[in-house]
């Protein structure tokens, strides 16, 4: 917390087991509830709808009945970027509204500093950032359920998943009070990981051997955090964004979809992403 000299730096990450994921959307709703996400009567325009955690649907596009689908929950990837902190969004922000915390590996977003140029939204390869086109309007009475640990945003600022950083702040408060330096794994869990009915989301410190995520992911930090587990992958690895978010799937076609392939590497499957922030055919 004060002098850490890099040794006790943590790297918080998440692994989502796509075999277990049922596409139920609990992670989305838990996130909305926890983070005071605004909502409007019409949320069908997904380019305008704010949803820090969003579940996409992948299809292998094979004809019936060889068709297969896979749900893909995508929050912010909390990219480390090349050179520890050069995440795509951080590199382009003109006002340092977004920053990389080397001690936790979390990419922060400060709403009061952001002035809404949306350059970061352009830069993010995962489309994980959302813009407040309008001021939030809560139906009368519903403002009572707002979480005081998270600041509601006004129009004109960009927001994104924060790995429920406020929960780490609360967990640290407790640790300070009890005089214990270390925060147990269960004391800091994101809302989505906590709610997932299938237990598909595992959150924790990738650098801590005691956290379940490190044994699930087995990240090789000499290779930019790439997983040693063949079933585990990250999206768009080639971009070297070094995301902290991993996925695990036993389906080869899903793993193949995680990155673009050069012609000589493998035949390019045509993919469709539903819940369209991005439609590619």
């Amino acid at each position: 917390m004060e002098k850490t000299d890099g040794k006790s730096y943590q790297k918080f990450g998440m692994v989502i087991d796509l075999d277990k994921c049922t596409g139920c959307g609990s992670c989305m709703v838990a996130c909305m509830s926890e983070n005071n996400i605004s909502f409007r009567p019409d949320e069908t325009d997904k380019l305008r709808s704010i949803s820090w955690m969003r579940v996409y649907k992948l299809s292998n596009q094979k004809p019936f009945p060889q068709t297969d689908l896979c749900y893909l929950p995508m929050p912010c990837m909390h990219c480390e970027g090349a050179d520890s902190g050069h995440s795509p969004c951080i590199s382009v922000c003109p006002v340092t509204a977004t920053d990389y915390d080397k001690s936790t590996g979390i990419v922060s977003q400060i709403y009061t500093r952001c002035f809404g140029c949306r350059y970061c939204m352009v830069a993010c390869p995962y489309q994980a950032r959302y813009f407040n086109w309008w001021d939030p309007v809560w139906p009368k009475g519903m403002e009572k359920m707002l979480n005081p640990d998270v600041s509601p945003r006004m129009r004109g600022v960009v927001e994104k998943c924060s790995f429920c950083y406020h929960r780490l702040q609360s967990a640290r408060d407790k640790a300070h009070l009890q005089g214990r330096p270390e925060i147990p794994e269960q004391s800091y869990q994101t809302a989505c990981a906590q709610a997932c009915p299938a237990g598909a989301i595992t959150f924790g410190d990738l650098k801590n051997a005691n956290h379940s995520i490190s044994s699930l992911v087995k990240p090789d930090f000499n290779q930019g955090g790439k997983s040693k587990n063949p079933k585990v992958f990250r999206l768009l690895e080639k971009l070297d964004t070094k995301p902290s978010l991993y996925y695990s799937s036993s389906k080869q076609w899903v793993r193949d979809m995680s990155d673009n392939k050069l012609r000589e590497e493998k035949p390019q499957p045509t993919i469709t992403m539903q819940n369209s922030r991005e439609r590619r055919n």
Partner: protein
């Protein structure tokens, strides 16, 4: 002194220099930027003392335990309760949206009386006097049987009080939405002579053959089933999904067998035949029936599944250590067709898993109410002698719709929303409007409340005590106790208290039948032995007397094995497509309308602006000249609606799939007028054996608009 142009400039420069050397411009700039960030209409949630309170969610029959986070006295979040067996700290989108259902402005905030233009707020005194005077009149006319009640179930104290009231009053017309559990009891009674509700040991099975069950779409007790599915993935338990479309469960399965719709039972019986032929013992007559009607070639033709696959499925089932067959399509809440039940049960009998780990447990409904006999006077006896008007709510509404004057004078509606969730919805709404006096106990302005004459709002789910029995395929049925975690926000009242108040006012035997001061007293005394345990852990297990693990044998009356299949409404020439529904955890099709958080989670291939989309195979759409996002008219024998097309390879050619849970007309701007209500396009089809509604689809057509 004359100040010329230069003088003016000098003045200006001096001013600038002076100001610059003062804090004014710097402070003003910074303060202005802060001012622009403090618009008064962006709320700043007030901080305070954080507490957690435990309760049980009552929004669906799943019965999950919840932990409610409060700041000072405000409910701020709902999460799953860690130490609760059903969900173990996890929760579904509906449960998580609980606070929205507490604070929504769509709540009925006081008793409301229908007047010429809309509704007028009245006091509880006035509401109760109006209610009791109408009840008194009905009794005085000697027609107590003209009082009817529609409740969500017959289990629990609130439906119990309503049913008891009707009995003491003299009306046999207590109806409940027929659930899968009710259907089980009828089926098992008819086929095996003893009533039971199946409990499935999902946790211990190593091979699951699912006849179209939406296991990851909210089947049985949704959280429990999803957790079991995750266990299967960890342990390598095989899941075979027999379903006509690529649902989430089909995708999650190790094998997806795409059968023609409605032929799941045929495939299962075909597999039984192979098993029986290959030596799994059973009776000669049984073998004969299977051989004659379910030979592999016949089944292959009927289902569209190749003989080799049928053989391989039988082989896998035979070699599994603890195979288990499940039936109950979709979320498994509505009655199952007898054929499917027979097919699944025969498979389970052949697997030898009845009352065994990894198999089917025969659970019994446990009546914990144990109240004294209801007192009856002559009027009541005469009324009860008339017998219940119809077997099911659907039949009741049909009868009312068909009659000149409604045979029911007064209808009480509790915990259900028939004007949305009953099939052939338009017809049902008309029937409800025919009834002279309709009372709704809904906490929200739902479709039934806006058609009611008097709305007596119950406390919302986070504001009340409620006992909830959870069967839903659990190995060990439970009863959970929901407790008030929020103070009562509005002028609402326990439905139980309305019943007790009315009973007291009516006096005589009716009043005698209700010896409790108020609802909470009634609840506490009913659960007295278990009260402390319920408060502490939130649930108790419901005793299952007489269940011996090694009993394990079940005999079915087999001649019924060729129970006819459900014929879909609509002739094929006019309606060449088959319309079915799909359920999703992101939309509530039950009594609670989907809160804004859930609607936000709905994909834009299900809802686009206000239009509901239907899934259809590209070939089928192509034949009709329909493309992606085009508008079309979907017509069934029961209704028609405009929809948008979504091309989906996972849908079988010749089928149309529509989402459940949309098409509301009430509940305010965040839910109303979005999409199409599947129930409106559907009509009930009676099961030939049980007489319950087991319609799984309807024939339909799509035309360009």
């Amino acid at each position: 002194m004359k100040i010329g142009r230069r003088g003016f400039l000098s003045l200006g420069l001096g001013a600038s220099a002076g100001l610059t050397l003062s804090p004014l411009p710097w402070k003003l700039l910074d303060d202005l930027s802060i001012w622009t960030q403090n618009w008064p209409w962006v709320p700043i949630p007030k901080d305070g003392k954080e507490t957690y309170q435990q309760s049980v969610c009552t929004l669906c029959p799943g019965g999950c335990g919840i932990t409610v986070r409060k700041i000072d006295e405000r409910v701020v979040a709902v999460a799953g309760r860690e130490d609760f067996p059903i969900n173990q700290g996890r929760l579904c989108p509906l449960g998580l949206s609980g606070p929205q259902l507490l604070y929504t402005p769509v709540r009925v905030m006081s008793p409301m009386l229908k007047v010429d233009k809309g509704y007028r707020q009245i006091s509880w005194e006035r509401a109760m006097s109006l209610l009791t005077s109408k009840l008194r009149d009905l009794r005085a006319d000697g027609q107590p049987e003209k009082l009817a009640c529609l409740a969500d179930s017959d289990q629990g104290t609130t439906p119990g009080l309503l049913k008891r009231f009707l009995t003491a009053f003299g009306s046999p017309n207590f109806f409940q939405t027929v659930s899968a559990d009710d259907a089980w009891e009828v089926l098992t009674e008819k086929l095996s002579g003893a009533q039971f509700i199946p409990g499935y040991d999902l946790e211990e099975t190593d091979y699951v053959m699912s006849l179209g069950c939406g296991l990851v779409e909210g089947w049985g007790s949704p959280l429990r089933t999803m957790r079991a599915h995750s266990l299967w993935k960890e342990r390598g338990t095989q899941l075979v999904q027999i379903e006509s479309r690529l649902s989430g469960t089909s995708a999650a399965a190790d094998r997806w067998i795409a059968v023609k719709p409605g032929t799941e039972a045929d495939l299962a019986l075909g597999i039984c035949r192979v098993l029986v032929e290959n030596g799994i013992e059973n009776s000669q007559p049984f073998r004969e029936i299977l051989r004659s009607r379910y030979a592999t070639e016949q089944v292959a033709k009927k289902t569209g599944v190749s003989p080799s696959i049928i053989e391989s499925l039988a082989d896998d089932f035979k070699h599994a250590k603890r195979p288990l067959a499940l039936c109950g399509g979709g979320q498994g809440r509505s009655p199952v067709a007898s054929r499917e039940f027979i097919a699944a049960t025969v498979l389970n009998i052949l697997a030898g898993n009845i009352d065994q780990p990894g198999g089917v447990y025969r659970n019994k409904k446990y009546d914990y109410l144990k109240w004294p006999q209801t007192e009856l006077d002559t009027r009541a006896r005469n009324g009860l002698k008339q017998g219940r008007l119809n077997a099911s709510p659907e039949d009741l509404f049909q009868t009312i719709a068909d009659s000149q004057t409604s045979p029911i004078e007064m209808l009480l509606v509790s915990g259900v929303n028939p004007c949305y969730s009953c099939l052939d919805t338009e017809n049902v709404i008309q029937a409800v409007q025919k009834i002279p006096f309709v009372v709704s106990f809904s906490s929200y302005w739902d479709e039934t409340a806006v058609n009611a004459d008097l709305v007596l709002p119950n406390h919302s789910h986070l504001e009340r005590y409620q006992d909830v029995a959870v069967y839903g395929g659990l190995t060990e049925p439970k009863m959970g106790l929901s407790v008030p975690v929020s103070r009562q926000l509005f002028d609402t009242s326990y439905t139980g208290d309305v019943v007790l108040g009315a009973a007291k006012t009516l006096g005589g035997t009716i009043s005698n039948s209700f010896p409790w001061k108020n609802y909470e007293t009634c609840l506490k005394s009913t659960l007295s032995g278990q009260w402390q345990a319920l408060l502490k852990q939130g649930f108790i297990s419901l005793p299952q007397p007489g269940r011996t693990p090694d009993k394990g044998s079940l005999r079915l009356r087999l001649p019924k094995i060729d129970a006819k299949e459900i014929q879909l409404e609509g002739n094929i020439k006019e309606y060449p497509l088959i319309l079915i529904s799909k359920s999703s955890m992101r939309l509530s099709s039950g009594a609670a309308g989907s809160p804004p958080f859930m609607i936000k989670a709905v994909e834009d291939t299900v809802l686009k602006k206000n239009m509901g989309l239907v899934d259809i195979h590209p070939q089928t759409a192509g034949k009709m000249g329909l493309g992606e996002d085009e508008t079309a008219l979907l017509t069934t024998p029961r209704g028609a609606a405009e929809v948008m097309i979504h091309l989906d390879e996972g849908t079988m050619p010749g089928m149309v799939v529509i989402s459940q849970g949309l098409g509301h007309t009430a509940y305010g701007a965040y839910l109303a007028d979005k999409g199409v209500n599947f129930n409106q396009l559907m009509g009930p089809v009676k099961d030939p054996l049980t007489g319950q509604n087991t319609a799984w689809g309807i024939n339909a057509k799509l035309s360009k608009v």
